[in-house]
């Protein structure tokens, strides 16, 4: 693992034409030619920290790969390199929060969800401490295989009381989410997209609010309920389906917990639409099952399908290939939906 973490590759944006050849570790999720913004999390945190002196940044040797290095550079006296030690990262964050600081603790999603779970649960969430856990490589956003693919983090963190769970879609949303999660008094887990992050929501007059799902596009035949980068994909899929006269709506649900069940029920109850929940996560225990369970409990009946990663340890490889193989690329989504209609 240490060798992987110390790779010194420069990020190669897809726009440079590298496509499938992009390094598996740092592969871009941006499509060729797509607008991106660099390190939105790091820059937003630096901006916020100007007026919030209680903010400190901690990382388990992953500042560079979580964009926290931007903060470390701007505020070296407020930055802690905790070493390759996710448990002390979370424990020390708890101690700082006990005394009134607001730690932003970063690592990869796999390490937070799997290795540091007990520490987040019992040293942070149980005490309801004001720690913001921001983690890169959510779901299938690295080609390095199961050790670094956080395909189960939403399921794991959804089950933790007190924790707010957020899966932002793009650079725009990350920039809005940083001050919003800081304004929330309590622990937050946020999936991070880092590096050159796509810009998707700029044209939608989008306003991020914790716990609010937002309808980005309306449609009569299909309702996509999506989170994280899958919202980018289903917006593209909706365009493609429109060419075939299939009208698709997109409800973006970036807060996984607390879930905006009112909006989800209302949209899912509209007659005549196939509901397709799309997430960059295993089919087990994420947004899809959360929505399905709530619709069942509340008596909303609808046709229902899921776009999600299979219940498997996934292969290593180039991301576009993997996204096709596991059904979360735009073309794979379009094909699935056509098959279901």
């Amino acid at each position: 693992m240490s060798a992987i973490r110390h790779l010194r590759h420069a990020r190669k944006p897809a726009a440079a034409g590298k496509g499938l050849k992009t390094s598996a570790m740092i592969a871009s999720i941006a499509a060729e030619g797509q607008k991106t913004r660099s390190a939105p999390f790091g820059h937003a945190l630096v901006e916020l920290a100007k007026t919030r002196p209680e903010i400190v940044g901690l990382t388990a040797d992953l500042s560079k790969y979580t964009d926290l290095h931007i903060f470390a550079h701007a505020h070296p006296d407020r930055f802690y390199q905790m070493g390759m030690a996710e448990q002390v990262l979370m424990g020390a964050s708890a101690g700082l929060a006990l005394e009134g600081f607001m730690p932003f603790a970063t690592t990869y999603a796999v390490f937070a969800a799997r290795r540091a779970y007990d520490f987040i649960c019992l040293a942070i969430a149980e005490e309801n401490l004001n720690v913001k856990i921001c983690c890169a490589l959510p779901g299938l956003t690295t080609g390095y295989g199961p050790s670094h693919q956080a395909t189960d983090d939403l399921a794991i963190f959804r089950a933790m009381p007190n924790l707010v769970v957020i899966d932002p879609c793009d650079a725009n949303e990350i920039e809005q989410a940083v001050p919003a999660i800081a304004a929330h008094d309590g622990p937050v887990y946020m999936r991070l997209l880092r590096g050159n992050v796509p810009i998707v929501l700029d044209g939608y007059d989008y306003k991020f609010e914790i716990g609010k799902a937002k309808l980005l596009r309306d449609g009569a035949d299909v309702l996509f309920v999506s989170t994280g980068l899958m919202t980018m994909r289903v917006l593209e899929a909706a365009e493609a389906l429109a060419a075939d006269r299939v009208s698709a709506a997109v409800l973006h649900v970036s807060t996984i917990k607390p879930l905006d069940v009112e909006t989800i029920r209302r949209e899912c109850a509209r007659a005549g639409r196939l509901v397709v929940v799309a997430e960059n996560h295993t089919i087990c225990g994420g947004l899809g099952e959360a929505v399905a369970a709530d619709l069942t409990r509340s008596g909303v009946r609808t046709a229902f399908r899921q776009i999600a990663l299979p219940d498997q340890f996934l292969d290593a490889g180039a991301l576009p290939t993997l996204h096709d193989r596991y059904g979360i690329s735009t073309s794979a989504i379009v094909a699935s939906v056509k098959g279901w209609l």
């Binding site: 448990q87 101690g95 005394e99 007990d118 005490e127």
Partner: protein
Amino acid sequence: MPCSVLSVSELEARAKAVRRLVLKTTHHARMGHTGGSLSEADILTALFFRVMKNRDTEAERVDRDRFILSKGHSTPGYYSTLALRGYFPLETLDTFDALGSILQGHPDMHKTPGVDMSSGSLGQGLSVGIGIQLAAARTPAMGDCHTFVLMGDGEIQEGQVWEAALYAGARKVRGLVGIVDYNGVQLASNTIEAVNLEPIADKWRAFGFTVLDTDGHDMGSLVETLEKARELSAGGPVVVIARTVKGKGVSFMEGKHEWHGKAPNDKEFALAMEEIGA
């Protein structure tokens, strides 16, 4: 109540009172970690009645010394000490682990006055202590705050303790004092039969800690060592190896792993109280 003036003999009397309360509490609740609570009684008495500073029971001072019971299962000893110190009435001990009680099975900072941090999942306390002292270093109002973290000897088999020790030693975290309640007995056996901890002092030293050693039941030595640890931690983390006896004070409990998580029945309780003395 200012406690810095208490003499060693006065502290010994309080430690005896803590032991009596431990037995009453676990006997009444018919559950609880009796062995480890008797083992830690002198350490807790020395800390709460003498060594720790600015621990007002009425108002939580921001510059108080912090305490974390990282060995969070030994709550009867902890709660008995807090009650005797005046954080809540002694009668509250009768509600230990009852539904709705402020005295949960394991410490809860939101429910129990005097508890600085919740615990119970072993191995986490030293990391949280690091965070508190990092905060103290950047908070003038916290003044001369020190954090004392009491660990069990079985607990330090948890790898996380050494992750925290590595950081604290490498960064010379100031004001951090670890204490190992080294009674040599854990849940199912002696520690030497489970996973041997020796050479324990060398291990902490190698991780960058100043190591002090004391008889964990000799109040004079304990107070002197803990006060020295507090002072020395200005230069970096200190650990106190407190040589203790599990079940200390009750002959049929001493050194017996069977008394790790068990409460005395009526007959055992009467015998134990007689041995501890009035």
